[in-house]
């Protein structure tokens, strides 16, 4: 009623004594005025904005090509970098140029896509193009073929790979697409923050493929660039939701958004750096614990075994494959599998057709006569990081027990294999023989090859004569098979050959086949598989049965126990290949032609074996020459070492780490949800209190003020409820009746004569309904992002904390 009578009252209240004061006292300084809640979106026709957006393009370019440089550890040379950067530059430049024109937002992206297509066509498939630049179906086929090539090339090559054309094309294709994506994210979708995913994805590539020290300079540079991008994007008002926050928070000055963006970005990066350090389960080391993908997977994938071997050898982070404790005086060669079928093409592991179950007994070693001195050796194995169908066992094995699963034994090679399980996590004991033939026994071995071993001397007819000639010339002076074998080994280990993991790759003779052997013999550089295959093939040309064993070389021992056993840790980079040659009456003997690994060839394979064995005729039958009293200091460290290496302990540690990580995540989630829950509880308590407590309307109004403050609406102490209602009414269309009713009731409670404002239960219920209506109105008009922020980070709690 009063409003009709005193139509000019509100104005009179704001007279202010002078015409200088505009609206009502106090609130006018802060109120944002009747600004329309939905501000007009940034119009595309703004020339200045377009220029500034185009100016962002160099920044995006840097964001893409800097992490591209990180691939330098994977690819040799740097031509690939230039071509890829060129594609990226073309795509971004075309997009930027088109963005300078007054065209709809989608056009620059389309133009950039066209530029990408044409550039790729011109660079990598120019012959099939229509008019020299338009892609045709042939172009597609060519490119697809190129991609297939790239896939094969990537699979075959090791790091750093040779950037063949197909790989460069793949890089150009993918980086051009990434540039398109980044450009579209920033300018078309207007979510510049998401563009950070692109350099992140590129940066992650080298580290996932190849373990290497983290390049913090590059990372810092990228972060700085990204922050600059965010800042500029905020400055240039590139962002999908720029109008929203200003309409809600009257206090936010547009100029400060950039600052906020930078601050939140910096905080995010700092968190990313600090969090892994302080949380127990998420340190980088916890990811180094071998996960399945990191295990050396010898032969399990069925690809060329020698290539697989070379890949495992080139691993820069060897993982612990197995640990064994043996009674042997020296380390054991642990054989996984034999390659005996030397045919054209990749050499495959021997067939397991003749295999029989392991528990039906172990066959006697081929050709081992009873007059040869042998010493039984007992070894217990713990496999922690090897996933293979074959079991590493010493040759010749006489007994294996303790295995889980069904295993079969292949007679002849005495390898143990399984079809339904694998070696990972197995603990078992193996008894093997330490064969100690005398020089005389070896010398006198017959050169006749038994019929059942004929397979071991067959060679394809068309092998390079160079191999035969070399073998003949090397063994000219030798008469017996044994002498020839010793001469062959000496040929390789006498210094003419070099050990190199990379040379075969660079010379393109990696792998096990006759072409590779011939090339290796002339290049005189390679690694174990080359030495082993070369010696084996040469031995066959000389009529000595031979095969290639693949397994682990002994490596250095780690500790010696007091009971005379020695423990060895075998790492994945001890994967090895060596030739086994057959001598009548002695059987298969291992040779060690590979130099440069610090491996000691078996005593019998050395040319002075006869003299040495004459001086110390036979070893005592106990076999072990290991010092019976081992150093005690070493022994004491054993339990911890073996415990750490124990796969179960490792698994437990891993599970614990993940559990801790889970708990940390849950705790963090709980902590993050606490404000929201607290705020909800407070609201419920208030609304509940309104139904029975004193001053229901005041409580309701406090709840509304808090809600507004949650929505980042400035609530100041110096503002009256009315002024506040008026101000919020300028920004949100508030339901008038509930606001007026609440306001009147609250004012009455607070300032009227005591006792004059006793609310009935119905009135209280109405007030609660009013409060809910007002809150619903605010929430309905705020954006989803503001809703989330109000829910998760209620500022009113902070204000309350501050008040204490």
């Amino acid at each position: 009623m009063s409003s009709t009578r005193f139509a000019e009252r509100p104005a009179a209240g704001s007279a202010g004594g002078s015409s200088a004061g505009g609206s009502s006292v106090g609130s006018s300084a802060r109120s944002s005025g009747p600004r329309s809640a939905r501000r007009t979106r940034r119009r595309p026709g703004d020339q200045g904005n377009r220029t500034r957006e185009a100016a962002l393009a160099p920044l995006v370019f840097l964001l893409l090509v800097l992490p591209l440089g990180g691939l330098g550890s994977l690819l040799s040379g740097n031509d690939w970098w230039y071509s890829t950067a060129f594609v990226v530059a073309v795509v971004l430049a075309v997009a930027a140029l088109f963005r300078l024109l007054p065209v709809p937002g989608i056009v620059p992206s389309l133009a950039a896509f066209a530029a990408w297509v044409v550039t790729i066509t011109l660079m990598f498939a120019p012959n099939d193009a229509l008019f020299g630049f338009l892609p045709s179906f042939d172009t597609l086929r060519t490119i697809r073929g190129g991609l297939a090539d790239a896939g094969a090339s990537i699979a075959v090559q090791s790091i750093p790979a040779d950037p063949v054309v197909s790989i460069v094309a793949l890089l150009g294709l993918s980086f051009g697409l990434l540039a398109l994506l980044a450009d579209a994210l920033i300018f078309a979708v207007r979510m510049p923050a998401l563009a950070g995913l692109v350099p992140l994805a590129i940066l992650a590539v080298p580290y996932t493929i190849h373990q290497q020290p983290f390049d913090s300079v590059l990372f810092a540079a990228l972060c700085a660039l990204y922050l600059v991008l965010l800042w500029l994007a905020a400055r240039f008002a590139i962002g999908a939701r720029v109008p929203e926050p200003t309409s809600i928070r009257s206090a936010v000055r547009p100029g400060r958004n950039g600052f906020r963006a930078v601050v939140s970005g910096v905080v995010a990066i700092l968190l990313a750096i600090v969090l892994p350090v302080i949380t127990p389960g998420l340190t980088p080391e916890s990811f180094h614990v071998p996960v399945a993908a990191q295990l050396p997977s010898v032969y399990s994938s069925g690809v060329d075994p020698t290539i697989q071997l070379s890949l495992d050898l080139r691993r820069s982070n060897p993982v612990l494959s197995l640990t064994y404790t043996t009674t042997s005086s020296a380390g054991l060669y642990l054989k996984l599998v034999d390659l005996s079928d030397f045919t054209d093409g990749p050499w495959q592991p021997e067939s397991t057709d003749t295999a029989h179950p392991l528990n039906s007994g172990v066959d006697a070693p081929d050709g081992l006569a009873s007059d040869v001195t042998t010493t039984p050796v007992t070894t217990s194995f713990q496999i922690s990081g090897l996933r293979s169908d074959w079991l590493p066992v010493p040759y010749p094995v006489t007994d294996v027990n303790g295995l889980s699963g069904d295993w079969t034994l292949t007679p002849g090679s005495l390898t143990v294999t399984s079809l339904d399980t694998n070696s990972d996590g197995q603990n078992y004991q193996a008894t093997s023989l330490d064969v100690q033939p005398t020089a005389a026994q070896l010398e006198s071995a017959s050169t006749a090859v038994p019929a059942e071993l004929a397979n071991y001397v067959t060679l394809p007819g068309d092998i390079s004569p160079f191999i035969r000639n070399t073998a003949r010339s090397v063994t000219e002076a030798a008469s017996s098979n044994y002498d020839k074998a010793v001469a062959l080994q000496k040929y390789f280990t006498s210094g003419a050959f070099q050990y190199s993991v990379t040379a075969p790759v660079e010379g393109h003779y990696d792998g096990g086949n006759f072409a590779a052997v011939a090339t290796f013999l002339s290049a005189k550089s390679g690694y174990c598989i080359h030495f082993a295959s070369a010696m084996a093939v040469m031995a066959r040309t000389l009529g000595i049965p031979s095969r290639i064993a693949i397994g682990y070389h002994p490596g250095p021992s780690t500790s010696t126990q007091s009971d005379g056993t020695t423990t060895y840790d075998v790492y994945s980079d001890q994967l090895h290949a060596w030739p086994e040659l057959w001598f009548a009456g002695v059987g298969w003997l291992s040779f060690e032609p590979t130099p440069g690994l610090g491996l000691v060839p078996p005593a019998y394979s050395l040319s002075n074996y006869a003299a040495v064995s004459a001086a110390a005729p036979v070893r005592d039958s106990a076999g072990s020459t290991a010092a019976p009293t081992a150093p005690k200091a070493k022994a004491e460290t054993d339990p911890s070492i073996t415990a750490a290496a124990d796969p179960q302990v490792q698994a437990a540690a891993q599970v614990r780490a993940w559990l801790i990580a889970l708990v940390v995540v849950l705790l963090a989630g709980a902590v993050a949800a606490t404000p929201a829950i607290w705020r909800r509880v407070r609201r419920r308590r208030r609304l509940h209190q309104m139904l029975r407590g004193a001053q229901p309307a005041t409580l309701g109004w406090a709840e509304i003020a808090d809600t507004a403050s949650d929505y980042r609406f400035d609530v100041t102490e110096g503002e009256t409820a009315r002024a506040f209602a008026e101000r919020i009414g300028h920004i949100y269309r508030m339901p008038p009746e509930p606001v007026a009713a609440l306001l009147a009731a609250a004012e009455k409670e607070q300032f009227a004569r005591p006792g004059s404002a006793e609310a009935s239960p119905e009135q209280r219920a109405e007030l609660v309904a009013d409060v809910r209506a007002v809150i619903a109105a605010i929430s309905a008009q705020a954006s989803a992002a503001d809703d989330r922020r109000a829910l998760l980070l209620p500022l009113s709690l902070w204000a309350r904390l501050r008040a204490f």
């Binding site: 009623m1 000019e8 209240g13 004594g17 002078s18 009502s24 802060r30 503002e719 004012e747």
Partner: protein, 354 residues
Amino acid sequence: MTNVAQPGNASVSDGFDEFGRLSSAILDNLSRVINGKPEIAALSLVVLLAEGHLLVEDVPGVGKTTLAKALARSVGCTVSRIQFTPDLLPSDVTGVSIYNQHDREFEFKPGAVFANIVIADEINRASPKTQSALLECMEERQVSIDGQTYFLDAPFSVVATQNPIEMEGTYALPEAQRDRFMVRVSMGYPDARAELAMLHNREVQSPLDQLEAVVSREQLMRMIETARQVFVSPAVEQYAVNLAQATRKDPDIRLGVSPRATLHLVRAAKVTAALDGRDFVLPDDIDALVIPVLAHRVLLTRRSLADNRTGGAGSAGGAGGAGAGGSSSYRAVDEVLRRIVASTPVPLVAARKV
């Protein structure tokens, strides 16, 4: 606006009804004369009903005197007008005892101040002595002459006008005396539409002549009584006190407001609440009155003046330097007061219990 005004009992309710009816009648009258200045009219009514005094300050010709006259004419009270000049004597204001030869005794001749509404035109042109005579009456509501005290009839309200231009040979009211005025208003120039309307209104005759009293003296006294009944909660009283204290502590203010200013503020706020149909005072009422009631009582520091002064309109006499619509120093004061209001916690918002 369903239940904003629901006074406690019937008689109070009647009082408020009458109050609302009469006050809107007075404001109607005023708006006929003062074109386009409803807030000034309302403020002058507030001062009248709060038994305060009004100081109208502005350049010549913007309707200061017209406002005062219209206000006086709208209520059926005795009105007198004193045109202050340099040669005006205190006795001209208060009255004088003259020897009556017929009765052979001194007889008191009441001066112009003996009226319900006194219009003191261009008060700064009179000598300080004369000014003081009036100002004493304003505060004491009595006149003492020759040992005899004469009381002034209620209601008593002085509407003084002061011309801030042409300060030569004038005596601008010092701070201590400005303090006695409840409200100072600056008329300010009318906007173009109001000025045009004014031309039409006054083409034939002055609208002032057509004004008739819409409120009798008794009715006015009842209105004043009603306004007195308005309830001021302790929270609001505390708020007023806090505001006053804040002006005394503010670094920008050289001289804060007096306790009398707090009194005036609350009294005026009561009338504002009554005009709004409420029987209790809101902090909003206080807020709205802070600048009219307090602005002429505070003195800013020189630094603050210098910081706030955009133009070079300063002249000797502090608040005297002026122009229509408020000088820069006025604006500076308003600004400081607004800041104080904004930073002083308001009882309702500050009261958080759960």
